[in-house]
């Protein structure tokens, strides 16, 4: 499957098929990770992160493909794995760098808030299914409040709205907790 087809699939909302095709790039990342103190499970994790980052990039305004998707994913994974290793406090000397010449110029900006976004994901995921449902319907599917209220059995739009903000507030509380401890951990090391 060529890169353009994959981009069309993502833009057409067919993430599953696109991702399935993109996993063909995973073994390369696995090799990288294994060679650098990691396990294949770690590779899968960061590869999924990379897929998500790629997905965002495709869906963002003014997207243009500046390199092959495989190159992009590999570059992102390398960055992520380096950060992960740093997080795990491994010596940088073990890091076997491959060519970084083809690294996209905007990668640093793209990954700048990656850590925070992941924490946000975790905070949201820790909420219950219904809370998460409300937030996803509102922020991702952009369903109108009236529809959300009917679908989830709230008394009305107002109730759905209040619930949405309550859930968001709880998510923020948890998010801050996560970010705070992560920062503290970083400072510590």
């Amino acid at each position: 499957m060529d890169d353009q087809r994959i981009i069309e699939l993502i833009q057409g909302g067919k993430d599953h098929e696109a991702f399935k095709a993109l996993y063909t790039h995973l073994p390369k990342v696995e090799r990288l990770v294994r060679q650098n103190s990691g396990r294949s499970g770690d590779a899968k994790d960061i590869f999924q992160d990379a897929l998500i980052i790629f997905h965002r990039r495709v869906r963002s305004e003014g997207f243009t493909l500046t390199s092959s998707i495989g190159t992009f994913l590999f570059a992102v994974c390398r960055n992520l794995w380096r950060d992960e290793l740093r997080r795990r406090n491994k010596a940088m000397g073990e890091w076997k760098l491959e060519a970084e010449a083809d690294e996209p110029a905007d990668l640093t900006a793209l990954l700048a808030r990656e850590g925070e976004f992941k924490q946000a994901e975790l905070a949201l995921k820790s909420l219950g299914a219904k809370c998460l449902d409300v937030l996803l319907r509102f922020y991702v599917k952009h369903e109108p409040l009236a529809l959300i209220a009917r679908a989830l059995g709230f008394s009305g739009e107002g109730a759905a709205k209040t619930r949405k903000y309550k859930c968001l507030e709880e998510a923020r509380k948890r998010y801050r907790q996560l970010v705070h401890t992560t920062v503290a951990a970083t400072q510590h090391t």
Binding site: Y23, R39, D45, G128, C131
Partner: protein, 849 residues
Amino acid sequence: MRDELHLMELVDRYLDGSMNAEERKAFETRASANAELRELIEDQRALREGATRLPVRAAAAKAYRSYRLGKPGPWIGGAVIVAVIITTAFFVLRGTPHFVASERSSTTSDVIASIPSDQVIAEETLVPSAVLSDTLGTHIAPLVMIIDPNRDTTMLTPNGVLLDVPKGSFVDSMGSTVRTAVRITMLEAFDAVTIMKAGLSTMSGDTLLETGGMFYLDATSQGKKVGIATGKALNVMVPADGVSVDMLLYDGAMRPDGIIDWRDPVALPRSLVPVDIRTLDFYPPGYEAKLAELGQNVRNKAFTDSLYYSLDCSDRSRNSIVTQEAMGFPTPTPNSQADTISYLASSSQSDSLDTTTGRCGVDPSKVKAIWDTRFNHTNLATREFEERMRAIHGTCDNAVLDLYVNNLTDDLRTIDRRVAQMGFSSFSEFAKRNDGRVALPAASAERLERIYAEWSRAYAEATRKAQDTFWNEQRKLDVQGQQRARVDGATEQAARQRLLNAETEANLRSVYAQMGYASVPSWVQGGQGGNNATASVRPITLPRVPRSAFNARVSSFGWKNCDVAFSLAYSRRTTNMGSSGKRATINYDPCVVVVPEANTYDQLRVYLLPREGAGYQRMNHVAADRYQENLNGLYTYDVVVLGNKDGRSWYYEYDKVSGLSALTASLAPIKEEELGKRLSRFERTRAVGLLETTKFLAMAAKDAKRQRANMDRVRLRQAVLPVVFPCGKAYGFSSEAPAQESVGDIETALSPQVGSNPEFPGGTSSLFTYLQRNIRVPNTNLGDGRVVVSFIVNIDGSVSDITIARSGGSACDQEAIRVVRGMPRWKPGQISNRTAPIRYNLPVNFKWD
């Protein structure tokens, strides 16, 4: 709150780009001046991004599985059970987690220490993903332990989770027990950050959950997954800051989108906090309150214990109350401080009560067996069980207690349910509380079960034996006391008889003299030789006549006054006699001896010893401190007062008293040899008699104390029996006075089955009140005081034909008759629905106290 939400809405609109230029500018200005608002914007931006990413991540994960499906692999990503403990509000564990079971240091560590170190290997390393497919990405370091499944194993994780693996818990895919080493993998997430980082949800539906922690458990043997055998369970003890109610255990299944779905919540037993069992109260409800009400010292646990443990369903000590009361000894005031041995009830008297069923109440021996430090660190040593113990007493069923004690490794709630099924529905309330158990190795439980069985039996046996020994001894002492009282009574009676004989003769002589007869036949010669006849009485000689003939025939010879004179010594009244112009007078005049504080003496007797006569006689006790008798004008008397108080003999004597006099006796303590000396001035028979009486009084005073103590015991036991054995009523225990049980003994010959018994107005209790108010206990009585008065209640309710069916001594008999005669009209009884005269036997027991 509303402001906060409003602000978030504004931020949303800002991030949506739905603000118009003007609004936007104003908002940005506001944000530039407000760090908090900027923070909110960034947080919300991140969360929105996170929300957007979630479905994408799910898609990525799903695609990964599809991608993997095309490849051969040892596993297929199935749902692995993850357990999480969740309640209904969010909270974060603070500080060092400590065990709910605070006894970790004593019990748990013992268990752990007993595991050979080569059995438990904790590796803080990542394990191959082949084992932990569903926990990848949680970034939680798994703990791996390799154990021998053929033994009980207990492990403690760094977070303080106690994992208890009973032997033979694991089965392979074929269902057969795993014998080879088992590798247990455990992941713990007990603080909020770990939980969130692990990507674990802490909500159920739209309800925020308070998680007490999540853990993941998996086990393999020889590289293959193993299951948990049916009927077996691993026990996981999770540390918590406090015991929350309504903890639920959820099973977690990984959904394809990577979110764990918490489902099938099971009520999690509340862990029990063992306390020192000695601080708990296993007494029947109200037991201590009842003792306090009776004025006993409930703080003295040695006392409350010894009393309680000495009771059993068949407590028959009350039967001895009759014997006690019948003794006729004055009884001193209660000494409530009890020694252990004395609170033992008699059970030697066989009765119909079936103690084996235990349905009158829970056997104190069983309670004694468990109320011991041996049962510390078990379910029983908890406040939760203490509450149940109260209810167990209410069931009166030993089987209920047995169930709790014999299933120490079960949750209390499990046993609660079983008890509820036994028909004690109130225990379902306990079951709802969801109380768990105190972790206890099965071997200890078995040992304690045996202890319970053996010791409760041993205690019951020991109690019974001690009761028998004690009450048999008491009965022996009672009999001895009665024998001594009889001997003393006989001594006194003999002395009085001698006096009567002498006095009669003296009276006779006087009458003869006054009537001018020259001589009196000397039929009493010899026997009265020792008397101190004075010179003023001339020796006279009476013809020898058999005494039995004296009364019958003398009058026919014109000497009819002589028999009057003879009875004077009994009637003790001044009497004038006259015949054929001749007159004779025998004077009897009262004498009163006042003994100050007579009631402080345990025993007190006032004797009159006529100087001219033989023997002696006791003065009548007419009032609290007054003794009175009519003195014969022919005699001069010496007064001897014998007392016993504080374990010492007291003595007083007064010489030469005659009628119409009053004196105050001031007693003083006296030693036996001194008393012997004092009495030796009297004629020998008198001295010996009085000395014997002194000894008897000392013994009686002591014995009365013993009996009093027994009486107190019996009364106390009577009072607490209905509390200790709440179901004992069916067997005749009642909170009423025990004596009432003997009331209403209807003579069956005159009262056929059909009909009703005559009834005292107001019933039996009124009858007793009446008797108590009106009976005056005679001061002297030669008998045991147990009188049964028999009378007929006529159709008009009047009482007639009053007779003594059983004599308790003449004085008591007379008093009983007097009181019965004065009774108000009864409600007559009926025979075959027709009012009829019915004979009624009323027992009246006299007590001296």
